[in-house]
């Protein structure tokens, strides 16, 4: 029988490891390369077919830019590009991503597509691959095109990085699915009791998944979740439901999703990359917690399961197709605002934090109609625009506090 102190100590060990990794996000890939001699493939977007890269024996490592003052990328990108593109390119040109053997660009927004061209011509890595996804994730032709594009990526990667056979790909898909199931568990446990892990730590744990080997991340997650479950079952006899919920969507009014009196105010985060840990810690400090999210380094990254009993390419296409669409993708039959509203109400969130990069056009285009949908349901929200490298916490604090005051009344 594990006692409570032991549980806390184990959790702290895992957390401090993941926290250290996220605080220095590119150190893992560099060390992994040194240790294994394997190839590292950078990517920017959660739609990247990581399973294929993994099956080729390479480490997929997400590039999320960083808080830095731009020096070299200013010569290539205008200041109206988002800080993710500008700081990412600046890192590449400054030699800070020298552990990369190549980069995979998924066509999402125009900035990313053009960044791919600039990157190919200037960054100087051996391998450069584009995955041009369909803009609309619906219809037979888009589905066929998506499968062909993924198959073509598999072929090109096979030639440039390493062969990808069906067996390896199926193993990778299962490994990634295991990671998704564990991440879904983390979200489920936090919905049950946000006190088990503050949102800054929880989102660090999720973000770390895209930075490190999945097998290793799975092991850390299993340990962390085991500790949390042990603590929760000690506090709440009867334990947890046997099966994890489907990705993010729960029926309304479910007991575990209702905020309890005295709890922090539950907020739902919407945005792309969330790497502002100081901001999230501040939200916790002032009495809020991001209980669920649609960040592409958060719940959108955890995504949906890839079916394992179909053709592996079809499997990866399916998880891209079926997930909550990012603002760069369109599905006319599945309204993004409605999908978000289902998740917001399911999570018991009382308010929404739009935390978005300045000059991120896809999110900016989506904002008015998502905001309108929230207003119609009487869900308070706050729109924050930030740029990596110039985030002023005190100014954001006033706004977050005002949102919480609005919710508390």
């Amino acid at each position: 029988m594990i006692d409570k102190d032991e549980v806390s100590r184990l959790s702290v060990d895992v957390l401090s490891r993941l926290q250290g990794l996220v605080g220095d996000p590119y150190s893992y890939a560099r060390a992994w390369k040194g240790r294994t001699g394997g190839k590292v493939m950078g990517f920017f977007c959660h739609y990247a077919p990581e399973e294929i890269i993994h099956a080729a024996g390479a480490l997929p490592a997400r590039i999320t830019g960083e808080n830095r003052v731009i020096s070299e990328s200013g010569a290539h990108l205008q200041s109206y590009c988002c800080s993710l593109a500008r700081t990412g390119l600046d890192m590449a040109l400054g030699g800070d991503l020298d552990f990369l053997d190549g980069t995979v660009f998924v066509h999402t927004c125009d900035t990313m597509q053009r960044l791919s061209d600039i990157w190919r011509l200037n960054a100087g890595y051996d391998v450069h691959l584009d995955v041009v996804l369909p803009g609309r994730l619906e219809g037979d032709s888009a589905w066929e095109y998506l499968c062909r594009e993924l198959a073509s990526f598999r072929e090109r990667l096979g030639e440039l990085v390493g062969p990808v056979d069906d067996g390896a790909l199926r193993t990778s898909i299962a490994l990634y699915n295991r990671n998704r199931a564990l991440l879904a568990d983390l979200y489920r446990l936090r919905r049950r009791d946000p006190g088990v892990l503050p949102s800054d730590k929880a989102l660090m744990v999720v973000a770390a998944s895209a930075l490190m080997d999945k097998e290793e991340h799975n092991a850390l997650l299993e340990e962390l979740l085991g500790n949390i479950e042990a603590r929760l079952s000690g506090a709440a006899p009867g334990g947890l439901p046997d099966r994890p919920q489907e990705e993010g969507v729960e029926s309304r009014g479910q007991a575990e999703a209702r905020p309890q009196a005295g709890e922090k105010v539950r907020l739902f985060g919407i945005g792309s990359v969330m790497d502002q840990w100081e901001f999230l810690a501040m939200v916790e400090d002032v009495g809020g917690t991001v209980i669920d999210d649609d960040f592409c380094t958060g719940h959108r990254y955890a995504g949906v399961m890839a079916p394992e009993y179909v053709d592996p390419i079809e499997s990866i296409a399916r998880r891209i197709w079926d997930g909550v669409p990012c603002p760069c993708k369109h599905v006319t039959t599945r309204d993004r605002a409605e999908l978000l509203l289902e998740r917001i109400t399911g999570s018991g969130a009382e308010g929404v934090l739009f935390f978005q990069f300045k000059f991120c056009e896809p999110h900016a285009f989506d904002y008015p109609y998502v905001k309108k949908a929230l207003d119609e349901r009487g869900i308070p929200s706050l729109h924050l625009e930030i740029e990596q490298g110039s985030v002023s916490i005190p100014r954001l604090r006033t706004r977050v506090e005002a949102l919480l005051e609005t919710i508390r009344g």
Binding site: P394, T398, E405, T406
Partner: protein
């Protein structure tokens, strides 16, 4: 006490001026409370007893917001003839609220301005607060509760600081900007609302020989456009009440009225609305 009455009152350009500052809604029981608003430029305090204002103060914030808040509180206490021990509840608000170690209770200036403004004009549904470094547009409900708000982000356009820079560039006293602009018959166009670029533009206009009054009127129009852009992002409804130090500038008030096509309510002591709101909330908590 610094002069608090609006030059706007003299100019008679504001359609609805609330002058009954001492008619705050009465509260049950005899409770004395304080609101201290430590802004970027000035610190203000308001003392209420059962909803009636007993004392107010306004001091420059300077380099130490904690000391400024303390001084504002002490001055208001002195005016009211009270001791700190007489206070049953106190709330700090404003940019420097975290430094106010003489109280544990803090509420944001957004909520406080909404409550203060609501107490002056219960029919108000939109608050425009232009302070030293922040500009805010706040949508409020029937009870003064914040429904939504917009706040400037790292941009001094429309704030007191912006006007200070412009006044210095034009060698005009800050307090005179409003009345000077009302004399203009053809305001110049100021295309930038960025403080740095606008200052360069103002210097260019001076070099071109434009009059001070036309330049100042142009500056006020630029501010009005900037604030208008914020109002379209919240559920904007009449009546509109204006708070914060910039509300003392009749030129900005008039430019905003023209741009928003509505009259603005400017309360007496617009700079004190945050401190008043803080005191009202302190009263509710102390009486609860």
């Amino acid at each position: 006490m610094p002069p608090l009455f609006l030059s706007a009152i003299k100019a008679g350009c504001i359609s609805d001026i609330i002058t009954t500052i001492k008619q705050a809604p009465a509260r049950s029981g005899s409770v004395t409370v304080a609101g201290v608003d430590i802004g970027s430029n000035t610190a203000k305090a308001v003392l209420l007893e059962d909803g009636d204002i007993l004392g107010t103060s306004l001091v420059m914030t300077g380099h130490n917001s904690r000391i400024a808040g303390r001084r504002a509180l002490d001055l208001a206490l002195r005016e009211a003839g009270l001791e700190e021990s007489d206070i049953n509840g106190m709330i700090a608000t404003g940019y420097g609220r975290m430094s106010a170690d003489f109280t544990d209770e803090r509420v944001t200036e957004i909520t406080c301005h909404a409550r203060g403004a609501h107490s002056r004009q219960p029919e108000a549904r939109t608050v425009i607060d232009l302070g030293g470094q922040d500009s805010k547009v706040i949508a409020i409900g029937e009870t003064g509760k914040v429904i939504d708000f917009m706040m400037n982000d790292k941009c001094a356009a429309g704030t007191g600081r912006f006007l200070e820079v412009m006044a210095a560039a034009l060698e005009v006293e800050l307090d005179n900007l409003g009345e000077i602009s009302l004399l203009s018959e053809s305001p110049v166009s100021i295309s930038s609302v960025c403080t740095v670029f606008a200052e360069s533009e103002v210097v260019s206009r001076v070099a071109e020989g434009a009059s001070k009054m036309d330049i100042v009127a142009g500056i006020h129009q630029a501010i009005a456009s900037r604030i208008y852009a914020m109002t379209v992002r919240v559920p904007f409804k009449e009546k509109v009440i204006m708070t914060g130090g910039v509300a003392r500038n009749v030129g900005v008030v008039r430019a905003l009225e023209k741009r928003l096509e509505t009259s603005l309510v400017v309360p007496e002591m617009p700079q004190h609305m945050g401190a008043l709101g803080a005191a009202i909330i302190a009263g509710e908590r102390a009486g609860a």
